[in-house]
Assembly symmetry: C2
Homo-oligomer: 388 residues x 2
């Protein structure tokens, strides 16, 4: 079942110790229809995924990594044709790394509604023969978990040793434990929250309005017009980036430094932070799809396991049987430690086994993606104790 291609000498980054090497994405086609939370049924769908390590004989060593807003199935390693294409969590996943692929069979999957190959707005709508565009339904964390469960079936994985995710990925890990309690032995919920705060929704709404009001959005059918709502997607990413970084880190990294050393009295980028945000925004528009961005922010806004339990998170998490590692970062103001503690309290009240770490890291919400020693030590220590 392992699909990891052997390390290739053509890709230097892949040959580094701890790398899973050159990897190749795979596609799973599901011909059984799936009915989404929005009430829409997709007659068939595809999921693009990657795997690292080897599934053992009893399939007891499988770990699912769930991606966040702009992530993908490409969690670790590099592609043969692009040595710079390092997976987004390559620092965490690999032989000898905290999520050790010598021990575990790790699966990364691009979620439904995504723009990296799984069925989404860019896919052909069988009803019209044209890309879904805005006709692709809003999907939810629940939908993603359902699709991931079908992938697990396909891969012969009855129970995950662990489901792991940061941010929106952590929400998926959390939902796995209540939707399929028998299929998850451990959940690693990192830099996440039991639901978005009002302010979180507000930032998402600004991002969505930037895209929706871009004249090049064309009601979501911009593919047919041969354009991309670059302006809106760029603004969405810029405002997002502010929330991913801590105020302190931004101050330390960019301060009030001027690009040219003196004030220009113009609207060109003159503070370093302006250049940084514009660069990040521009870059994003070259690889991410605006409809997927809209869908994914909605999935974030909607996630709220306590909604159907009168706001009682403890009741909402009662079905969970997994052991939990919950990690938060002190400078994360998007999903603050307080939000992680809400999850911890609910689980502890339910007599679940919970390890909680509040990591002192200066990089805000983005900390979960970074190679912070304390953070990685915590993950390693927890994961090392998972029996396979």
């Amino acid at each position: 079942m392992s699909t990891t291609t052997p390390q290739s000498p053509a890709a230097p980054a892949a040959t580094a110790p701890g790398s899973v090497g050159v990897v190749t994405p795979q596609k799973a086609v599901f011909d059984a229809p799936i009915t989404l939370s929005a009430g829409v049924t997709l007659p068939r769908f595809e999921l693009v995924y990657e795997t690292y390590g080897t599934l053992n004989a009893t399939a007891s060593n499988a770990v699912l990594v769930c991606h966040a807003l702009s992530g993908s199935h490409h969690v670790a390693g590099v592609y043969a044709d692009d040595p710079k294409s390092l997976g987004w969590w390559d620092n965490l996943v690999g032989p000898g790394k905290p999520l050790d692929t010598d021990k575990f069979f790790v699966v990364g999957v691009n979620n439904l509604g995504g723009c990296y190959g799984s069925t989404g707005p860019m896919s052909t709508n069988p009803a019209t023969g044209k890309p879904y565009g805005a006709d692709f339904p809003v999907v939810t964390v629940e939908d993603w978990v359902e699709a991931q469960a079908r992938l697990a079936d396909r891969l012969g994985i009855g129970t995950w040793a662990a489901v792991v995710g940061g941010s929106l990925g952590g929400m998926q890990a959390l939902h796995w434990t209540v939707a399929h309690p028998e299929r998850v032995r451990h959940a690693l919920v990192i830099a996440s929250a039991p639901q978005l705060s009002t302010q979180n929704i507000a930032f998402n709404e600004v991002a969505r309005q930037a895209i929706l009001t871009d004249p090049d959005f064309h009601g979501g059918h911009y593919y047919e017009h041969g354009v991309v709502p670059v302006r809106g997607l760029r603004l969405a990413r810029m405002v997002g980036h502010i929330t991913y970084l801590s105020d302190d880190q931004m101050g330390e990294k960019f301060g009030r430094e001027l690009k040219n050393g003196e004030l220009q009295y113009s609207y060109d980028a003159e503070f370093q932070i302006e250049s940084y945000l514009r660069y990040q925004g521009d870059k994003f528009t070259r690889y991410f799809d605006a409809n997927t961005y809209l869908i994914t922010t909605k999935a974030l806004d909607y996630f709220d396991p306590a909604r159907n339990c009168g706001g009682d998170l403890r009741a909402a998490l009662a079905p969970a049987k997994a052991g939990f590692l919950v990690v938060s970062f002190t400078t994360d103001w998007r999903f603050s430690p307080e939000r992680s503690r809400e999850i911890v309290y609910a689980l502890v009240h339910n007599d679940r086994d919970v390890t909680y770490a509040e990591v002192d890291c200066n990089f805000g919400h983005d900390s979960f993606l970074l190679d912070d020693p304390q953070y990685h030590d915590v993950v390693r220590a927890y994961v090392d104790n998972i029996a396979v």
Copy 2:
């Protein structure tokens, strides 16, 4: 010198106790050129202003109120033709109010570059006969204070009893004390900061990019095209609003409430916070000018009295001779109490008389505009001790 029109029975709000009543804006024309920080000289300029109360014989009771990003000269009272046109600080300024117009002669002025009647982007550029538009130079807090000083001369005010402002208005009050130390007896610096943080600049940059990339911006010459960059200005206001409110207040006021009680799986406004932000954004585009918004965010970004003192705020504030009231609000994350304390420390080190109040108020940055009893008591107590 007083220009306050007597209370009119036609305007009920104006007849309320403590109201300055119906007011009429005035215009001061300055034919002497003014050279701005950007190096541009305006051959002439106009300032629109209002006054409340009566200037006493020795002109010792004059108070200047400086406005913030979207404020104006219309600080208190109402206009005869619009009973809803309450001044933006009417709760603070009036007979018997904390800034008591029975004692003080209060002046509100629309700043250069503004869109309420003072010379700005909407004014006719004498060089072209057309609106300045984007050709109106970026202005600075220093420029505003220089223009305000000329207005003081015109009004016969040698020394202000106090210069008062919140947020960007507080920056003007602070600059008055170092630019014209002999002309300011007291400065009230409320919900302000000695300079923007990197994050503050980042949010301003998102707002600017929203406007600058709106196809209807036309390089700032949209007046000639008969359009307004509504999309950009709306987004700018939406992201601004998030930073004006506290996370807690937003949560308490809007929570995760759904407009229709259930999820819609669409991009219509469904959470209450979405409706609120859209409403605020839409409203703003009907009365505020996009070029003025750009200019004013630049004035915010540029303000940094310590820039020419190697970052030493104490040295930068050394010329100040005024007494100070510095007020911050516990839930203000735009200009947090920490930023106010930087001002206080610098002034205390300079042996200035400083009163500092950190007001426990739940309304974030917007607290400075609200009628919070503790806050108003602090202002009243300080102002009552100002001799006239």
